[in-house]
Symmetry: C2
Subunit: 301 residues, 2 copies
Amino acid sequence: MALLVVGSVAFDSVRTPSGYADEILGGAATYFSVTASRFAEVKVVAVVGEDFGERQMRVFTDRAIDIEGIERAPGKTFRWRGAYEGDMNVAQSLETQLNVFEQFSPKIPAHYLDCEYVFLANIDPVLQLHVREQLPRARWVGCDSMNYWIQGKPDELKRTLATVDVLVVNDGEARMLSGQQNLKRAAASIREMGPRIVVIKRGEHGVGLFTDGSDFFVPGYPLEEVRDPTGAGDTFAGGFMGHLARTGDTSEANLRRAVVYGSVMASFAVEDFGVKRLLELTQEDIGRRFQEFKHLTHFDV
Amino acid sequence: MALLVVGSVAFDSVRTPSGYADEILGGAATYFSVTASRFAEVKVVAVVGEDFGERQMRVFTDRAIDIEGIERAPGKTFRWRGAYEGDMNVAQSLETQLNVFEQFSPKIPAHYLDCEYVFLANIDPVLQLHVREQLPRARWVGCDSMNYWIQGKPDELKRTLATVDVLVVNDGEARMLSGQQNLKRAAASIREMGPRIVVIKRGEHGVGLFTDGSDFFVPGYPLEEVRDPTGAGDTFAGGFMGHLARTGDTSEANLRRAVVYGSVMASFAVEDFGVKRLLELTQEDIGRRFQEFKHLTHFDV
């Protein structure tokens, strides 16, 4: 089934202990859609500037990602510059130029309106809700958010949360949003705000899935080198939502598999800068690492 | 098979967000042996002072733990005072009175000498090696250590590590000992120092088991309240070594089950202050939580 994502497309400049990348293609909608396109038919709603070239657009079109919802606006594309050192779980933001993203008003092409799977990546919760309300036929809606909105627009965010099925956030965000330090309580508190399902990303420590009366944890894949953690969370969401859209199955057992596929894809993403590693993956690579996750967590009773 | 542990017996005073406990029975050898006694025949080597009463000793003897190796020395028992706030993974040590532990020279009763399973809890690595060398028939030796020895006696610790099968440490200690920030590299580096098996405890994030060419992770059990994290690591070690001693099987599959039993026991330990929860557990409680760990981590391929 088709999967719609709304979010940022950006040029990122990133320094990590492994090196430096200058103005590479990034943004939540990019990581999400490149990843999800391995699993399902993907449609993007985003905005880019006049400096966004054919070469960058081909990253989407080469994967049959529907770009009719990518608006080209006067001005420059969103730019972000960041660095990681020591704790690879936390980025230091050095510079953010919103550019055309500042006035982003998501426009949804007519033929997107019957998408059944939707992901509202991290943007202003007012825009998330606006998109959500235009998609009454969506049967499974996921969303992400961040500290900036949790602190700055808590009421607007809660209105959005009341309309979604699953929230995907990191542990710090879950704690801030719920006011609960304990992760299990944080998840329970967020579930009372609307989403029946809460997925909490814990960086190198993996991911927790909290549903009605059942918790599931998958560890981070133990890599010897993390070259660039940028986009790992959006990549996770792309694998998670992509698997659900591909199968059309949101049972507990399939949600668990979706969490593992998200973790598989995120583990590849961080092996190189930007979306580089994601673009060169084969389906065999993905299948093999899924099996490795099984081996990593399996024990006989 | 019999399991020998050498380590500290102490009186702990602990403050956590859940409350305060004053001079309760603690120490690595206590948590370890109370836990391991659920699985195997346990023999303790430790030292206590003249203030250590019959009531405290009965915690051991009621569980058929062999206390012939607990020496009673002139003076007071080791005392520790600590507090936890916010991040429950890290204790603040407020006061340490070594007392009789300062001159601890482990004496091994003759009938302990044919123990096949041995755990050298966190004490001076010189003493660990001294104990190790008196037990030539031991076929499986585990040890723990801490920052204090890693920094203060690195060469002595490495001599001990060269003689053991498994090192059980937390993530910060693994990084300090190896000089590697990345956990997988840290484990590989420690394995080159001697132990074929490295177990890395990550507090609420669970435990990693690193063996020859295979990694295994089990998450922390998601508790709504951690009342007192003191002794969780030693309790883990008691369940881990206890299961190995009970089964006499150190295959990869059984090491994994041992890591889960260790995690099960640690998850109970933190539910109340000191060893309180460990003392009241039934075998059914243990079996039920083992199954819950399976459910917590299982996904269908």
